[in-house]
């Protein structure tokens, strides 16, 4: 009856950058075992950054809201996880993997749940009155960031809180000559699970279909009778929960938390979502991996350059594709 629609062509070039970068770094690093260690470290960092940034980019794509206060959810999640792990110190210090995980997972769940609740309140109180007004959005969410950071300082104090990894996740795993930190493997695995769940939800469920349609053309979805506003609140809350999870992972990765963690990571995740193309989940993933890998390779090869690798990468990508790797918005 109807002619088959032409298949949408998939742009493989940006995603191919990740293995290309890894391969290009191999001869430069020299030894294969060091290269493997660095690659796993880079992937782990990229995965954590992806978990943190994915919610932000979806929120932007769906509702044209850029949340400069996203860092608050990260910081909040990190502190909650730190508190829970501190309370379960007996379990994290025990020499049993299962007890360690039994402490780790409640900590992550608590971080996600409370960050989600905070995200809901944030959307309700701060973001909702300023839809469609970019200037006010930037100012309000930045104000939310300031308030959040001060509240964290009021609750947990301004100083750094050290956080040690659970006993079973300390140390390294020997893969041939290469040594890989156990926690990084866990972070990579967790990131892969989040990515899979996210891709499944976005591409295989009705909900995801609506979200993707909303990202492409909000007004059309709205005029078909779907409650885009409710959908958006859901995405905002889910994004906050992911930020909380990412924050708890980042705290473990850095083995300590400071109240400024949110502001520090904000810059990084902005760079990632600019590289990926504002609103694109896949772009965010590729951008996060590129940033993580590049940071680790340059950190090993030229430590001074590593401090500027992110911004260099962003400039290079924008010169190549001014709207980011995968651009979904039409401006």
């Amino acid at each position: 009856m109807t002619a088959a629609l032409p298949r949408a062509s998939f742009d493989v070039l940006p995603i191919a950058l990740v293995p290309l970068l890894a391969l290009a770094a191999w001869p430069l690093v020299g030894s294969s075992s060091t290269w493997l260690t660095l690659t796993v470290a880079g992937l782990a960092m990229g995965m954590i950054v992806f978990i943190v940034a994915s919610g932000l980019t979806l929120v932007f794509g769906l509702m044209d809201v850029l949340n400069f206060g996203h860092g608050v959810f990260i910081a909040f999640g990190a502190f909650i996880a730190t508190s829970v792990l501190g309370g379960l110190a007996d379990w994290t210090g025990a020499d049993s993997l299962w007890l360690n995980l039994a402490a780790l997972f409640p900590a992550m769940l608590a971080a996600m749940a409370l960050a989600a609740a905070l995200g809901w309140a944030f959307e309700r109180v701060l973001v909702r009155p300023v839809y469609g007004q970019h200037l006010k959005q930037i100012l309000i969410t930045m104000g939310g960031m300031i308030i959040g950071e001060e509240l964290i300082k009021a609750i947990w104090g301004p100083a750094l809180i050290p956080l040690s990894l659970p006993q079973a996740l300390r140390g390294v795993l020997a893969l041939g000559d290469a040594s890989v930190e156990k926690f990084r493997l866990l972070a990579t695995g967790l990131g892969a699970v989040v990515l899979a769940a996210m891709l499944y939800t976005l591409n295989r469920t009705r909900l995801g279909l609506l979200v993707r349609a909303g990202v492409q053309d909000r007004e059309m979805v709205e005029s078909l009778g779907y409650p885009v506003r409710t959908l958006f609140v859901g995405v905002f809350v889910a994004g906050s929960a992911l930020a909380g999870l990412g924050g708890s992972l980042w705290a473990l990765y850095q083995q300590g938390v400071v109240p400024q963690i949110g502001a520090q990571l904000n810059v990084l995740i902005f760079i990632v979502i600019i590289i990926g193309g504002l609103g694109s989940t896949l772009g965010c993933f590729v951008g996060a991996l590129l940033v993580g890998l590049l940071a680790n390779y340059t950190g090993f090869l030229w430590p001074k350059v590593a401090l500027f690798s992110n911004i260099g990468l962003m400039v290079a990508v924008l010169l190549w594709r001014p709207r980011g790797l995968y651009s979904v918005t039409t401006w």
Binding site: L135, I138, I146, I147, E150, K153, A263, L307, I311
Partner: protein
């Protein structure tokens, strides 16, 4: 006669509120007389900080309030100015030549950098510019602390000034004169035809483009101008402190302070910068004492006592910031002016 002179000086942009006019006159007089009225260096330091912030915040207002662009790289230009003076003075030794070279070099660097950032990222949405500037500013902060041969790294640079400025009062009045001239110059710019175009872009950029103004060019010019004024504010800061480091001029905290001041004082008014800076710096140095007084009153309540502790004053400023974005977007100056314009309307209603 004096009225017309005043009108010319303020570029026909009068305070338009008696309370505001009185407040501004009081600030001017207070700053002019500080070295004589208040003894001690403490008062002069506070007054000098107020003046530097007035110039810095007014230059940010040029961008945020008049053109409607949010930049997070404003302290970068502030820092460039301060480092210009500091580096030139340490390299060339104390002297007027060093100061001139420092100011000129800082202005040149700021011009180039702001032009580049503007052309690179002002073509697209405001949000994109805000994010790019945030990234660039953080990279610059890292750069400044890494190039320790030039900038002194985290420790910063202490330097000496020419003999004539060794007297604190002399450098205070140099600062005072420069700040006054700079603020009047900015008032002149925003009330020129060019300034009107900027406001048109802020209100409706599509329409401004349709009328025939190249909005990209105007936005970039606004960005460059505000960067240059911020650079000069940085020069003033370095002149006063005779020291510069990353935390004094480049840190992100200062950027947030500037954002808070411009919104609370009143966006798009220039005078808001004056009122806001005064309140902010006074609050920074005095509010903590005040809150320390209030703290014992709520000492029994556990969470409340930490919330009103003097270290948490930024929290309340943040709340005030959010409230002012919602409820009085023109800030304190806007409130003062609104009261004046509302009164005649009420009188008209009563007369018939």
């Amino acid at each position: 006669m004096t009225d017309r002179l005043m009108d010319r000086l303020l570029s026909h942009d009068l305070p338009r509120s008696r309370a505001l006019a009185l407040l501004l006159a009081a600030v001017l007089l207070g700053l002019a007389l500080t070295p004589f009225v208040f003894p001690g260096t403490q008062a002069m330091n506070v007054a000098a900080k107020v003046m530097v912030f007035i110039v810095l915040v007014a230059s940010f207002d040029l961008l945020l309030g008049y053109t409607g662009i949010v930049s997070f790289a404003h302290t970068m230009f502030f820092g460039i100015g301060a480092y210009g003076i500091a580096i030139a003075s340490t390299r060339l030794g104390p002297g007027w030549l060093a100061l001139a070279v420092g100011v000129a070099a800082a202005l040149a660097v700021s011009l180039l950098l702001s032009l580049l950032i503007g052309l690179f990222s002002l073509r697209v949405k405001a949000i994109f510019f805000a994010m790019i500037t945030l990234a660039v500013a953080s990279a610059f902060l890292t750069l400044a602390s890494q190039l320790s041969d030039w900038t002194g790294g985290e420790d910063g640079l202490s330097f000496r000034l020419p003999e004539a400025l060794s007297d604190r009062r002399a450098s205070y009045y140099l600062l005072f004169g420069a700040a006054l001239v700079l603020v009047l110059a900015m008032l002149r710019i925003v009330n020129s035809p060019f300034g009107r175009v900027l406001q048109a872009i802020r209100e409706n950029d599509f329409r401004a483009e349709a009328i025939g103004y190249r909005t990209v060019v105007y936005r970039t010019l606004s960005n460059v101008l505000s960067a240059l004024f911020a650079t000069l504010a940085g020069c003033l800061l370095a002149l006063w402190l005779r020291y510069n480091g990353p935390d004094t001029s480049l840190s992100f905290e200062i950027m947030l302070d500037v954002l808070l001041i411009v919104v609370i004082g009143g966006m798009g008014t220039v005078y808001g910068a004056v009122v806001g800076s005064l309140l902010f710096v006074l609050a920074q140095s005095q509010l903590q004492n005040l809150m320390a007084l209030a703290a014992p009153l709520v000492g029994g309540v556990p969470l409340l006592s930490t919330l009103v502790s003097p270290e948490r004053w930024l929290l309340w400023l943040g709340v005030l910031f959010v409230l002012s974005v919602y409820h009085f977007p023109n800030g304190i100056v806007g409130r003062l002016r609104a009261r004046r314009t509302r009164q005649p309307v009420q009188q008209q209603k009563e007369t018939p």
